[in-house]
Symmetry: C2
């Protein structure tokens, strides 16, 4: 069944749709619809265009005409008498439908809709928003918003943004997409404090039309951004979102995401804020892992990480060679690198001897490397240490810790060090960067000095940068393994319900399942048990009974004809007493298994993202520790192997209390099969649970299988 | 046994010793010994004193005399002809012993020793360092260093520091103690970027004499610091350290610590760097919990957290009321607060109705509270929202998110908002603060504007500040519970070795232990089993056999005379075959226990910090997950309750698979008893292990006990 695992290839949007967006984001003419000098939004939007040096035409539109922002105003877009590419709408909600018609007649490709008071306010607003989106779609106009601040295209000096913007920072590295306009402004400020430039900001607001998937797809195809930073409150169209992220990744533009909703309370707050459903956070985490999307946990981290991904690009090997002028910094770095999963490998003996020749006697050739105060007097040590360390076979990138002064007048002091670091970067056999010890502002002069010396510099400080390096290494290692999940494939019309039906369905997908004969009498039970030849298990077979143990419907370790006969009759009696209503199909006779490792594999259906699969270890691991790993379906064997490796109790798989180690490859195949078996039953399947999936060496066997279907309630 | 639990009261150093340090740290006259204009250290030290406006006498000392740094130089301290309080030693290592004698004759109280090349370089350097310390101690001179940068006393404008310092920041909040001089400089820079002032910096280097414990004790007694920030590589004198921290805490000066060594690799790096042993990091974590010391993980966090502790002081109640002008910020804050253990409680209905009266219609009265863009137009909303939210019964402190511009010329824009926030702070019924959304520099003008408006402001950004608030709330909640561990109390002369001896020793400390009769024959075994009356367990009793199961020395669930007799003889036979060398004292007959929750309690001896106790759940929890919590001994019942609560598998204690919930108070008493029993056996006890400690409701019973003693090797 593996060959036709359902999956969506990572293609991109249709060209025509992206072309329309491109005319909107790179307009030659912009209408400020509802322009007036009394509106701070209108004034800010116009000021931004002028200050950025927008090269196209700006057309204020106001029914009263006259002169606005020093320009002749048209009474409508149509009345402007020329083709208009983009419009910024600052008109009352009631006038919007008429405005759309006016935009159409001027050939507008896209419009920014600032107004709040739509879907985020409840169902009436949502209806209004949907009408507006439909009207725009009908006439081929893309809408950004409502409830957004617009977009900024720094590359073409085109801000369509309604709060005052800072002047662009040179050398933009990444693009920013944010569902919140206010947070986009905070992120822009944080980037500005680091002298980090952006290629674009797109604030998508309520996403009546253009959503984050569109924005990512557009930026992946049409921008010089080398990474895309995302602030997300919700994912409105998971499958399109996954496609866009996978496409961006495939063209070398990794996506870094800060998504709220990891806490219960945040999910509630988001509901109040945007009227959107915050998805199950663990499912989103699973999606990140599967798409190679890097998830961060704070605003600063989003900026620092996206910038570092953009500046460094993928690294060929994960080991970090770290050099500083202080031993203490090296120790902190070591702690933080370990905590973030970044490896600071010990150096090869060839490297340590080469370093010994280079370093003063009182320095120890280690990784991290402490150059001691000697480098203050002799900066050339830095160059040599970087060069030698970079040649170590285990080192994939080099980082030098240095805090240049922030103030321009103090920068002279730093020049000789940065020349030495730049020379080290050039001499280095691997990618290299310079990082500050603590989170520090980076002045434009410092940034320029770094670039002049060929230095990749991050002011994020040890903690943020080491975390970003760890993320970069993980992302680099899994590149090219894009697997877009979120497929719903239904190929089976039956709804397997009883244990045997479920096990047979699983067997059809290549899973080993425990043999079992359904018998109708004690004599048949005895015959079946003789055939098995060892201790047997008897279980009631009934489509109405989900939890067999609770009605006395299970008998374990039965040996010998008499015992089988007695157990059969007693079991039937207990079940008949407990559940006289249940339809009984007979009793299942199966071999009794002992030993091995019990796994739990279950699929679920997330209301937002669709089918997902959870894997855990049986017993207390699942029941007490909720120790499971999660992925969206379908999963690959590689995914399944990673899932097993994420389990806290994974040591159990390596052999425990005398059991042989579980063959992980075989277990992974079984997990893939269960996932595919569940997908084949979509869309009415709520869950398919195999518990236990018994693993003994390379034998992986389902001992029980349960399905829950739409409209079904669990019954004992 | 509880009444005489050993513990050291939180007293402080002797007054005379602290007085000497005070004369050193607040000198009226300073000798720069080895002063010369050719040394950058000498020049920097002198410049610092002049720029800070040191009010006392500066005496350059150089055998050649003459004029140095524009001052007449003395040829020796003695030759200066006046009493000298403090000396900065910049002389070759070989001349140091002679210098000490010169210092003595001038009445010097303390000296800073810059030189490196001592204990951090190996044993020869360590010997030299010890000789120097001994010489100084003999003549009553305190030594700071070697291998340090000195100290800065900002309060008395007294820098004895050998790299160029920035001018003091007004309004100092906390003191900094660092074993690394370079890191002290980085931390000072980070504080400076936030316009956070320090009261003192003390860099202790190799700690030949003055160590971090002295520094903490001094600052607790004699400085206006309201918190103490520590950078630690090692703790050289754990008991003195614990006393100093507890003393500082008791006088309202919480200690915030960044200690390296959480990674394996860091422990190795530290050894190369300072020649000091980095202790077991988990033991240090345990010490932090017991002392109420707050541990942080990065340099920025140390500065932000210490400053926030100093500015806010303890809070009476942990709930945070968070207000912002953006919903997205509230969502991020909620995620991060939950992740850091800070509570953002839902508001009482009285609060929400009061807010509804205050807020514009489109704002939702929640916590976090999104004032929306409306607060931009009407800053008074901020004041009212802070006031109303602060009255909520669940709210203990209020935080408002606002990013003032960094540049002076843009600050005008922020003034009206900060006036409104300040008014909110004044009207607030609870402590309040303003925090930036992202980590931002704080200019001196912004700091001044905040203070003028009565605003406590942190530029640490949501992530760092929320983490600091969480730490502050936890510290506030446990204040007054100081329990200085690290006692070694030996009151028992015997060395219990066999299972029965160990159990009897535990019973003497109040622990319930399983009854057991040691029998010498099958007949005696039968008699003992009859007395017990149910299923029994037989175990071999031998001082030489630690792991009984492995030699066939255990038989479980034996019922009936014949079975007991057979099991006894078979057991003796197996053991005799497996360990013919072992001295056999007989067979223990005990009742067979089933059900309940198995706990693991074991003590260990850390080479640096002394006796510690680990608690875990039995089975896979300890064996696979290493799920244990740790404390130094002695522990209180409160400590033990917290230990149980830290276990990942703690849900097991609340009743699992039909077992009743474990009475945690009873389990805590048992843990305390085991700890005390172990302490009573110090110092030769390596470990005392009770495994399992069986818990069933409020019956807590030790089923087995094993000791390991110095010089013993574990044997099967």
């Amino acid at each position: 069944m593996m060959d036709d695992t359902p999956s969506i290839p990572a293609t991109h949007s249709s060209e025509p749709s992206r072309g329309l967006l491109d005319r909107f984001i790179r307009p030659r003419s912009i209408a400020l619809v509802g322009a007036t000098e009394r509106s701070i939004w209108s004034v800010a939007a116009h000021d931004n265009l002028v200050r950025f040096g927008f090269a196209g035409r700006i057309i204020p539109v106001n029914p009263k005409g006259g002169t606005i922002h020093g320009l002749p105003a048209a009474t409508s877009c149509a009345a402007a008498g020329e083709s208009i590419d983009a419009a910024l709408l600052m008109v009352p909600a009631t006038a919007l439908l008429d405005t759309i018609e006016d935009l159409r007649s001027a050939g507008v490709a896209g419009a920014v809709l600032l107004s709040s008071g739509f879907a985020e306010m409840g169902s009436a607003g949502a209806v209004q928003q949907a009408q507006l989106a439909q009207a725009a779609r009908k006439v081929g106009i893309r809408l950004l918003g409502p409830n957004c601040l617009g977009f900024v295209n720094y590359i073409d000096s085109t801000p369509m943004w309604t709060t005052p913007l800072r002047r662009p920072t040179p050398g933009p590295t990444f693009a920013l997409v944010s569902q919140s306009g206010a947070l986009a402004a905070h992120l822009e400020q944080s980037a500005h404090q680091q002298s980090i430039g952006l290629t674009h900001i797109i604030s998508t607001g309520n996403e009546a039309d253009v959503d984050v998937a569109d924005a990512i797809d557009y930026l992946a195809a049409n921008s010089p951004a080398r990474a895309i930073a995302l602030f997300l409150e919700t994912v409105r169209h998971p499958a399109r979102f996954a496609k866009a992220v996978a496409y961006a990744d495939s063209v070398g533009k990794p996506v870094i995401v800060l998504k709220v909703g990891s806490s219960e309370a945040a999910a509630q707050a988001a509901q109040a804020h945007t009227g959107s459903l915050v998805g199950n956070d663990r499912v989103f985490d699973a999606l990140c892992r599967q798409l190679g999307m890097t998830r961060v946990r704070s605003l600063e981290e989003l900026v620092i990480t996206a910038d570092l991904f953009a500046r460094l690009g993928p690294v060929a090997r994960p080991g970090l060679g770290l050099i500083a002028m202080s031993g203490g910094l090296g120790e902190i770095a070591t702690d933080q690198a370990e905590c973030e999963g970044t490896r600071i490998p010990p150096l090869a003996s060839s490297t340590t001897s080469a370093l010994r020749e280079t370093l003063p006697a009182f320095a120890t050739p280690n990784n991290p490397l402490d150059l001691t105060g000697a480098a203050m007097l002799e900066p050339d040590l830095i160059t040599r240490a970087m060069e030698v360390t970079s040649r170590d076979p285990e080192v994939g990138l080099i980082a030098y810790v240095f805090d240049p002064p922030v103030k321009k007048d103090k920068l002279g002091f730093a020049e000789r060090f940065m020349r030495a670091i730049g020379a080290g970067a050039k001499a280095s056999a691997k990618p290299s960067l310079m990082l500050s010890a603590t989170f520090s502002p980076v002045s434009s002069e410092t940034r320029a000095l770094a670039e002049d010396n060929g230095i990749i510099y991050s002011g994020g400080g040890l903690r943020h940068v080491l975390r970003a390096i760890g993320q970069l290494c993980r992302w680099s290692a899994r590149r090219g393994r894009s697997n877009v999940p979120l497929a719903i494939v239904s190929r089976v019309n039956s709804q397997p319900g009883t244990e045997r039906e479920v096990l047979n369905h699983l067997a059809a997908f290549g899973l080993d399942v425990i043999p079992g004969a359904v018998v109708g009498s004690a004599d048949e039970a005895v015959a079946a048990a003789r055939k098995i030849g060892g201790p047997v298990v008897l279980k009631i077979a009934s489509p109405n009974i989900l939890h067999k143990t609770e009605v006395g419907g299970v008998a374990l370790k039965i040996v010998g004809d008499d015992a089988v006969r007695a157990a059969h009759d007693a079991l039937r009696g207990r079940v008949a007493a407990a559940r006289p209503d249940a339809r009984i199909e007979g009793v299942i006779v199966s071999p009794m298994r002992t030993g091995g490792v019990e796994l739990f594999v279950g699929t679920m259906r997330d209301s937002q993202f669709g089918a997902a699969i959870a894997v855990g270890l049986g017993g207390v691991f699942v029941e007490v520790l909720k120790d499971t790993s999660l992925r969206l379906l379908p999963v690959t064997e590689q995914d399944a192997l990673e899932m097993l490796d994420e389990l806290r109790g994974r040591a159990i798989l390596d052999g425990f209390r005398g059991a042989p180690a579980v063959n992980r490859q075989a277990a992974a195949k079984a997990i893939v099969a269960i996932g595919n078996a569940a997908l084949a039953l979509a869309p009415n399947l709520v869950s398919l649970e195999v518990n236990p999936l018994l693993a003994w060496d390379d034998q992986i066997e389902a001992l029980d299988g349960v399905t829950v279907w739409d409209g079904e309630r669990e019954q004992a």
